[in-house]
């Protein structure tokens, strides 16, 4: 057995026995299967059905990228404000 195989075996052992067993699969409020089923099972189909054909009229991909950017930026802004408030509140 080569040294490389031994090193890889140690890493595999570390991952399989010490890391993977303690990593959760599901979140408490929404399991992975439920989450995946919602996304790929119905939401995806509903979104594609609802927006079918609209890609002829406008660049839906760009629109959604910008919308998601706005949501992300606003959320970040809101979190920063909450963080500042908490700091101010604690400091008096």
């Amino acid at each position: 057995m080569s040294i490389a195989n031994i090193v890889i075996s140690i890493i595999i052992f570390f991952f399989q026995k010490m890391i993977l067993p303690i990593m959760p699969v599901n979140l408490p409020l929404i399991s992975y299967s439920e989450f995946n089923a919602i996304l790929t099972g119905s939401l995806q189909h509903n979104v594609l059905y609802a927006f079918a054909g609209l890609n002829n009229l406008m660049n839906l991909q760009l629109l959604f990228i910008l919308l998601i950017s706005i949501i992300f930026a606003e959320m970040l802004f809101w979190l920063v404000r909450v963080g500042l408030f908490v700091v101010k509140f604690i400091r008096g």
Binding site: T40, V47, N59, A73
Partner: protein
């Protein structure tokens, strides 16, 4: 400066310190309040979804149609127990039942609203009857489904001995076997009975699927255990009927009886029995396997098993869970679903994707060929190969490592992220596909075709498609709108 100035609105407005403190304070409190309220909604929905998923009929003593586990009288005394439930679907013919307790055996008899021999839209009746054995006392515990007036028994019985620690097996008694295709007689299973099929664990549902062929007078037996369905009759080409006359008697079955048999005592209140309810099934496989419908509630964001509709809505036909709505083979297969008969006639089912195990692309490079070299060169070559071999992993080890890394993809948060990524990829691909816009006016479905958009116009001496012109303009409007937001967003920091 006196304290009174702080009570003057005029002074307060001009005091930068006060406004600096108060404005972010009120803003932050309001933001925090709204934010918390927003965060609380999903917690409330998910935290109490079990109680929200409840109707008034179900609320009566927690004993609802098809699920007798919570019925208070189920574990009560020996009084007759009338099950008040309504089963509307044609697959479930029985409503109402009477529980009778005898000394050595207990029965629960359900009286059908229709005879099993009455006319139907097709020539088959389907009964899906789950049972499980939770605990027991006494020896040779067993439970059967019997179809009065005949004595044939289909059920589970402990095997191989009377030791309560033993598992159960499929057990049939007092029934004749026939060739399913020709109807020819094969043999007779006596009252002693015969064990069939695999062993069943304690406290695990075994769902019996009976198919009554009322034209040829044959009973097909299937069962689902641990999510796997076995079509025993079809696989073994052996069907059943209570007699061996020629022609076989056309019985008027008067009901179905769950019969617990034991020489001593049965803990009948530990038997769970559900002749109707689709609500029993907790996974897509067992739900559709029992002929039920896997329903996704957009309000609860939760999927559960419900009674199937009499006629599915064809326009709802789609991939995955919406395969169930496809009513023809063509539409079913167009949505990458599977059209098959698992005992309920030809229907459309979700096709399980087969994901191959992850494999690395590592190929160990070949070592140098040392043949034909001189002595010293051979030694040097062998030493070089030896050193290279030390640091060269084998393909099997690299694949094992690759598979281990792949296992992380099934763990949080990578599995959620992958699912989200797949979702966006599918949306992106779906949007890129040009489709007509579906419309529905006065219940008439149609589409708006965009074929005319391929017409071209000459602008500035160059030919350009109409759809490109419109898309470019709409892109410009979208970018402008984003710019307006961006300016407003930046101004908040200035």
């Amino acid at each position: 400066m006196g304290d009174s100035q702080y009570f003057s609105p005029k002074i307060e407005k001009t005091t930068t310190t006060t406004s600096f403190v108060k404005k972010p304070l009120y803003g932050a409190i309001l933001t925090l309040f709204i934010g918390l309220a927003m965060w609380l909604v999903p917690f409330l929905v998910y935290g109490f979804n079990a109680s929200w998923n409840y109707d008034f009929e179900q609320g009566k003593d927690s004993c609802f149609a098809g699920d007798l586990r919570n019925c208070p009288k189920w574990s009560g005394d020996n009084a007759n127990f009338q099950v008040s439930t309504v089963a509307k679907h044609r697959h479930y013919l029985f409503q109402g039942g009477t529980y009778n307790q005898a000394t050595v055996s207990k029965t629960l008899t359900f009286t059908p609203t229709l005879s099993l021999n009455s006319a139907t839209t097709d020539d088959f009746y389907y009964l899906n009857l789950p049972m499980r054995v939770n605990s027991w006392s006494g020896q040779w515990p067993r439970a059967y489904f019997v179809f009065p007036p005949v004595p044939s028994q289909f059920g589970i019985k402990q095997y191989p001995s009377s030791n309560p620690a033993d598992k159960h097996r499929l057990h049939l008694a007092n029934v004749y076997r026939f060739n399913c295709q020709t109807g020819a007689y094969i043999d007779y299973i006596s009252g002693t009975g015969e064990y069939l099929g695999p062993q069943f664990e304690q406290n695990t549902w075994v769902i019996f699927h009976f198919k009554f062929d009322t034209t040829n007078n044959l009973i097909y037996l299937s069962y689902t255990y641990n999510g796997s369905r076995v079509d025993w009759s079809v696989d073994n080409n052996k069907c059943f009927w209570p007699d061996n006359t020629t022609p076989r008697t056309n019985y008027n079955f008067t009901g179905v009886k769950l019969d617990f048999q034991n020489a001593y005592d049965w803990s009948y209140d530990n038997f769970y029995y559900n002749p109707f309810g689709c609500s029993l099934y907790e996974t897509y496989e067992t739900c559709t396997g029992a002929g039920c419908f896997w329903y996704y509630s957009e309000w609860l964001h939760h999927s559960y098993c419900v009674e199937p509709p009499e006629e599915p809505e064809p326009e709802e036909c789609g991939s995955f869970f919406k395969c169930q709505y496809c009513v023809s083979e063509a539409t079913c297969e167009a949505e990458l679903c599977e059209w098959k008969d698992i005992g309920f006639g030809d229907r459309c089912y979700m096709l399980e994707p087969v994901i191959p195990p992850p494999q690395g692309e590592w190929e160990a490079p070949e070592l140098e060929n040392c043949e034909g070299l001189g002595t010293i060169e051979t030694w040097l070559c062998e030493i070089k190969n030896f050193i290279a071999g030390i640091f060269m992993p084998t393909k099997e080890k690299v694949n094992e490592f690759y598979a281990t890394i792949g296992a992380f993809k099934e763990k949080f948060p990578f599995n959620y992220a992958r699912s989200l990524s797949d979702f966006f990829s599918a949306i992106k691909t779906g949007f890129a596909t040009e489709k007509d816009i579906p419309i529905k006016i006065l219940n008439a479905s149609s589409t708006v075709s965009f074929a005319f958009w391929n017409a071209s116009a000459t602008i500035g001496g160059q030919s350009e498609y109409l759809k490109n012109i419109v898309k470019d303009f709409s892109t410009l409007i979208i970018l402008l709108a984003f710019l307006v937001w961006l300016i407003g967003f930046i101004k908040r920091f200035l």
